[in-house]
């Protein structure tokens, strides 16, 4: 399993559109991908769940990938976070 802690810098937080893009990116990998905030974890492949976290600017999230292609998934998703959020 790989894990990354990341603080959101986008002033708008994880709002609908980047949530959608993140979900699309996560869905491209076979491994499990979760996003955790304040102890609540959601499946990063589901937009309603990701949006329900209500992540705002300055909040820390934990991204976890576990299973097949977990390294590739972590690389791609951490890059997405840094570039977009």
């Amino acid at each position: 399993m790989r894990e990354l802690k990341y603080v959101i810098t986008d002033p708008m937080g994880i709002h609908a559109r980047p949530a959608g893009e993140l979900v699309k990116a996560a869905a491209g990998f076979p491994c499990n991908v979760t996003i955790e905030k304040d102890g609540r974890a959601v499946d990063a492949k589901r937009i309603m769940g990701v949006m329900s976290l209500g992540v705002k600017c300055g909040m820390e999230i934990t991204l976890k990938t576990a299973g097949e292609q977990e390294d590739a998934a972590m690389d791609a998703l951490s890059k997405f976070l840094k570039e977009n959020l």
Binding site: G13, A16, R17, G20, R46, S52, G54, K56
Partner: protein, 542 residues
């Protein structure tokens, strides 16, 4: 029968009345036996809904721009969400019920989840979940989404219309909008102005008017139902006269903006996106007096890059082929769309963290825009205008940042031209400081909407105040004269880019005050031109 309300756009419309149905479909819970077939029905309806949303996205893109269109893309993603889909299929399977009921229940559950969040942006998503569920249910029931059933164009009556509802309408079937609620600044009002059709608000119609003949009098602000034949004849004649006038206006395209006694004034147009340039050219405006750059910002999920901005500014500059293009730097903050994008909620956003205040606080964002603007200046005749100025100090800070940007571009060998720098005069503070400000900039452009709101202390979004919101208030007129006089004394040219600029009852007043430029919405260019061309300043003042 006559109902009087308030007009938000002039004109006469005659046609059948149709009450807008917003597609609220009652859903019955029914037992089914073949769960697999029912799930397939849901899946098919979901796919159909996605196709509809794709088409709406394209339509919205053309009509209201990418910012407002994005919502339909998000709706598509929500429909594909596994939690959502699983919830629907689970309900069908475990309760052996119809797909309509399963979708309605799922929609209610998810929207309750969003509604309970302590974040206004996310709370608003509750309506989105309801909206997509409603769309799927409508398809399952074999109905049409709310809209116009009539084959003939109609006068559309509604409580109020949300932007998502107006986008779905077949505009060629709307002769006029008539709503019970809404203010002169509501979405419907703006749409009516863009479409050039009469619109009324505050009309409390009864449900039994459906299908009756009606007349919308956008001059008097009234709706006439079942008119007598003599009244109908009278309005037909007025409508014809209106159309004749429209034809005349088209003849004024390409004519000079000059009064009978030879005074020239620049007549420019206001735009909000690159695609508006076409209507600017079609109406023969002499330039762009206000290009609202914030639309470009709100289009993307992140701050637009320098390259993205440069491409857009360059495109407008090139399309205008040497004509002046005045681009206003980022003016977000007061608009509700900013709430939607997650900025802190403010008690009093019109007086809050907005426009130049954000730019001078977060200079990285500001610099990116200035770099893009200066780089684009090489490809046309660009001028830059700064919003919400209240002090000379702000202008000096801006000029300092501009100097840094130019130095950077010099060092990188990127070409640019010297551009005129101007400021919006839209706060009473700026008006009082015009003498000093004029020494620091090349031009002033008066934002009459905000200036009136700040000067009269009247919230222009509040429909209750519409009756005392007087844009011709003597305080405003005195300020306008002061702005022109101080501007000219300090070597500035002075224009108006607020809505008042298009008020033809004031065109002569503006000319007499000495304004050098008027910038109006593209559809108003020709009527203002007509007014200018029949004005004679050498005659006695009226």
């Amino acid at each position: 029968m006559e109902i009087t309300g308030k007009s938000v756009f002039n004109g006469i419309a005659i046609g059948r009345l149709a009450i807008f149905k917003n597609g609220d479909n009652p859903v019955k819970r029914e037992k089914i036996t073949d769960c697999r077939a029912e799930i397939q029905r849901f899946m098919d309806a979901k796919e159909e809904a996605k196709i509809q949303l794709g088409a709406l996205y394209e339509k919205a893109l053309k009509e209201v721009g990418e910012v407002n269109a994005t919502i339909f893309e998000v709706h598509q993603m929500m429909l594909d969400d596994l939690d959502y889909v699983e919830s629907v299929t689970n309900i069908i399977q475990s309760q052996e019920v119809n797909a309509e009921y399963a979708v309605a229940t799922t929609g209610d559950n998810f929207s309750a989840m969003f509604a309970a969040m302590d974040d206004d942006y996310m709370k608003a998503r509750a309506a989105d979940v309801k909206d997509i569920s409603n769309r799927v249910i409508t398809i399952l029931q074999g109905n049409q989404m709310g809209g116009i059933q009539s084959e003939e164009p109609v006068i559309l009556l509604a409580n109020d219309l949300a932007p998502s509802e107006t986008v779905q309408l077949d505009k060629s079937k709307v002769l006029s909008f008539v709503t019970r609620h809404g203010s002169t600044n509501s979405h419907t009002a703006i749409l009516a102005r863009t479409m050039n059709i009469p619109a009324l608000i505050g009309i409390d119609y009864t449900e039994d008017v459906e299908g009756k003949l009606g007349i919308v009098d956008g001059y008097e602000g009234k709706l006439i139902i079942d008119p007598e034949s003599s009244v109908l004849e009278q309005y037909r004649a007025r409508k014809e006269a209106d159309e004749e006038k429209k034809r005349l206006l088209m003849e004024l395209r390409g004519k000079e903006d000059v009064t009978l006694d030879g005074k020239q004034i620049k007549l420019y147009a206001n735009i909000g996106s690159v695609s508006d340039v076409a209507t600017v050219l079609a109406n023969g405006a002499g330039g762009i007096g206000l290009f609202r750059s914030e639309f470009l910002y709100l289009e993307s999920s992140d701050y637009p890059t320098e390259e993205e901005q440069f491409t857009a500014y360059r495109k407008v500059a090139e399309m205008m082929a040497g004509k002046k293009v005045i681009i206003r730097t980022l003016d977000i903050g007061a608009d509700k769309q900013v709430d939607y994008f997650g900025l802190d909620k403010e008690e009093n956003p019109a007086m809050g963290y907005r426009a130049i205040r954000i730019c001078l606080d977060r200079t990285d964002i500001f610099k990116t825009q200035l770099r893009a603007l200066y780089r684009a200046s090489y490809y046309g005749n660009i001028a830059i205008m700064f919003p919400m100025i209240i002090s000379v100090d702000e202008v000096l800070k801006i000029k300092g940042i501009v100097a840094e940007v130019k130095k950077e571009l010099d060092a990188e060998g990127l070409p640019y031209r010297e551009v005129e720098l101007g400021i919006m005069i839209e706060t009473p503070a700026a008006v009082m400081m015009t003498e000093e400000l004029a020494k620091e900039v090349d031009f002033f452009s008066v934002g009459t909407n905000d200036l009136t709101q700040y000067t009269l202390a009247i919230d222009r979004q509040n429909p209750k105040l519409d009756n005392i919101y007087d844009s011709h208030h003597p305080a405003i007129m005195k300020m306008l004269q002061m702005i022109v006089d101080n501007g000219h004394a300090g070597g500035c040219w002075v224009g108006i880019c607020g809505e008042l600029g298009a008020d033809t009852t004031l065109t002569e007043t503006f000319l007499r005050m000495g304004f050098d430029e008027l910038s109006v919405s593209p559809s108003m260019v020709l009527s203002v031109r007509e007014e200018i061309r029949k004005t004679d300043l050498s005659s006695q003042e009226k």
